[in-house]
């Protein structure tokens, strides 16, 4: 079977096995600036997307950082973005809530849709858009206020003042972030007194308090010790099935432990995207295999 260059990802995915139509070397082709088709597993396409990234290109000052990324992010699943430094995974994540708008000399083509709504539509109100998403960064960034006020912050700025509502959301969110038992007796103390791992879980609680349609995690454990990392990973497991999570991680084992789907990126391209167990036991592409086994990157 001769696969045409513009074969759909589903058609490409049906030719299973490493022997199926092997490109000479995709990574070399990518490095030479050629466009290569992404290998997207059929299972991904069978999911209902919360977020659709559609032929998304991004240039920083004339240098292209993302190349025609097309990927659906499934609803209520955890999707991990992995790839060597500079592959564009953080850029892609930050493009979802338009954080890159703040960067000078940036040019974007293509679109992303959050539950069907165009994110890059010029009429889109960016503040309203960001309210629909939660984002957690590498370094925990609690606000200099009490634990309680951190969690209910989004509700407060939306004008919610009912003590009962705020109390309930605070407890549910802290429970959801597996932090309640540790802080329930000191909700009104400053959040800055928490440990790094607790602060990061607080940031997740703050994010989920606003009931985001998608939760964006940008290497949420990179500043944490192994115990705190373990707690965050447990938490991400808990969030599975209840929240749609898109997580960027450098830690391959974190991706394999916490995610339902894994997308492998390289030099601004989406190379392979499929169910995490497949990516880590029998990826379709040799290039993905080489990356997940640590042969390069």
């Amino acid at each position: 079977m001769q696969a045409s260059p513009d074969a759909s990802p589903a058609a490409a995915a049906s030719g299973r096995g490493p022997s199926a139509d092997p490109p000479a070397d995709r990574l070399a082709a990518v490095a030479a600036g050629l466009e290569v088709a992404s290998e997207v597993h059929e299972q991904v396409l069978g999911e209902t997307p919360v977020l659709e990234i559609d032929r998304f290109n991004l240039w920083y000052a004339g240098k292209q950082a993302l190349h025609a990324i097309t990927m659906p992010v499934p609803h209520n699943k955890v999707t991990a973005l992995v790839g060597p430094s500079g592959c564009g995974k953080s850029t892609l994540l930050r493009s979802v809530n338009r954080l890159n708008d703040l960067v000078q000399n940036i040019r974007i083509t293509g679109d992303m849709r959050l539950n069907g709504d165009s994110i890059y539509d010029p009429r889109m109100d960016v503040i309203e858009l960001r309210k629909r998403m939660g984002m957690v960064f590498q370094k925990p960034n609690p606000f200099p206020m009490s634990i309680y006020e951190n969690v209910v912050y989004a509700l407060r700025i939306d004008g919610e003042n009912s003590r009962a509502v705020l109390d309930e959301v605070c407890e549910l969110s802290l429970r959801g972030a597996a932090l309640w038992d540790e802080v329930k007796d000191r909700l009104h103390e400053t959040a800055l007194g928490l440990s790094g791992g607790q602060q990061q879980r607080l940031c997740i609680a703050r994010a989920i308090a606003a009931e985001p349609e998608v939760l964006l995690l940008d290497e949420p454990c990179s500043a944490l010790d192994p115990i705190a990392t373990g707690k965050i990973e447990d938490l991400i497991q808990e969030l599975r099935g209840r929240y749609s999570v898109l997580i960027v991680t450098h830690n391959m084992q974190q991706a394999s432990r916490t995610s339902d789907y894994t997308a492998f990126m390289y030099l601004g391209r989406l190379i392979e995207y499929g169910p995490t167990p497949e990516i880590f036991t029998k990826p379709i592409l040799r290039e993905t295999e080489a990356y997940v086994t640590g042969r390069f990157g």
Binding site: I279, F280, T293
Partner: protein
């Protein structure tokens, strides 16, 4: 980036191949001993099984160490898992070779019987399968592994012929009953060895391609 795991995996590969070589030798010697009624060679086969058993434990420990310390994924994971299983099968093949060797002095003691000619053919086929299955491990060669799977049918057919011949023998010469039953069990052991070689080949297909082909018909 240096891959420490690569060194571990190379080392594991060497080890499993050593087990394979020992098993191949034990099997081939057990057949020579059987055909030549060479009880001292049979004795040596029986004692060599201890070495195989010892190596089997070492290989397993090595696999567990790699799993625990390096958490291999994808091709590396499939390799370690395949070696765990191949190791098991090789050890069983070693036991079967020892069982064949055990029959040699017993056959020499009982009423003399002629070995059915199919035993030689069957043993040759099975030896070839063992050799090819090990080659498919060394070269990570799924094509050769598939060939091994197909060859198993010929061994099974030979086994059926031998069984019929032995039944006839028992009817014609009841005084040879015990030795004929010993010959029958030898042929059963050879058949099992060929089955194990098939298992090894199937694990090689999994190792290279990631598909579990066991319990699926060959095509």
């Amino acid at each position: 980036m240096t891959r420490h795991i690569e060194r571990q995996i190379d080392h594991l590969k060497e080890k499993i191949l050593r087990v394979g070589t020992l098993v191949e030798e034990a099997f081939s010697k057990s057949i020579t001993a059987l055909i030549n009624r060479d009880t001292s060679l049979a004795q040596r086969v029986m004692s060599s099984d201890e070495e195989i058993d010892r190596m089997e434990v070492e290989v397993e420990e090595e696999c567990l160490k790699i799993l625990a310390l390096y958490q291999p994924v994808a091709a590396d994971l499939r390799f370690v898992v395949a070696v765990l299983k191949i190791n098991n099968d090789l050890e069983r093949m070693g036991d079967l070779a020892r069982n064949i060797a055990k029959r040699v002095p017993q056959l020499a003691a009982g009423a003399p019987v002629d070995l059915p000619p199919e035993i030689r053919t069957m043993a040759m086929l099975a030896q070839e399968m063992v050799k090819q299955s090990l080659d498919s491990v060394v070269n990570a060669d799924p094509t050769l592994a598939r060939q091994v799977r197909e060859e198993d049918d010929a061994v099974d057919a030979a086994r059926q012929q031998i069984r019929r011949r032995i039944l006839q023998g028992i009817k014609a010469r009841p005084e040879q009953l015990e030795n004929l039953l010993r010959v029958n069990s030898v042929s059963k052991h050879i058949e099992r060895i060929a089955d194990m070689a098939t298992n090894v080949a199937e694990d090689v297909i999994y190792m290279v391609e990631g598909d579990i082909v066991r319990h699926r018909a060959t095509d």
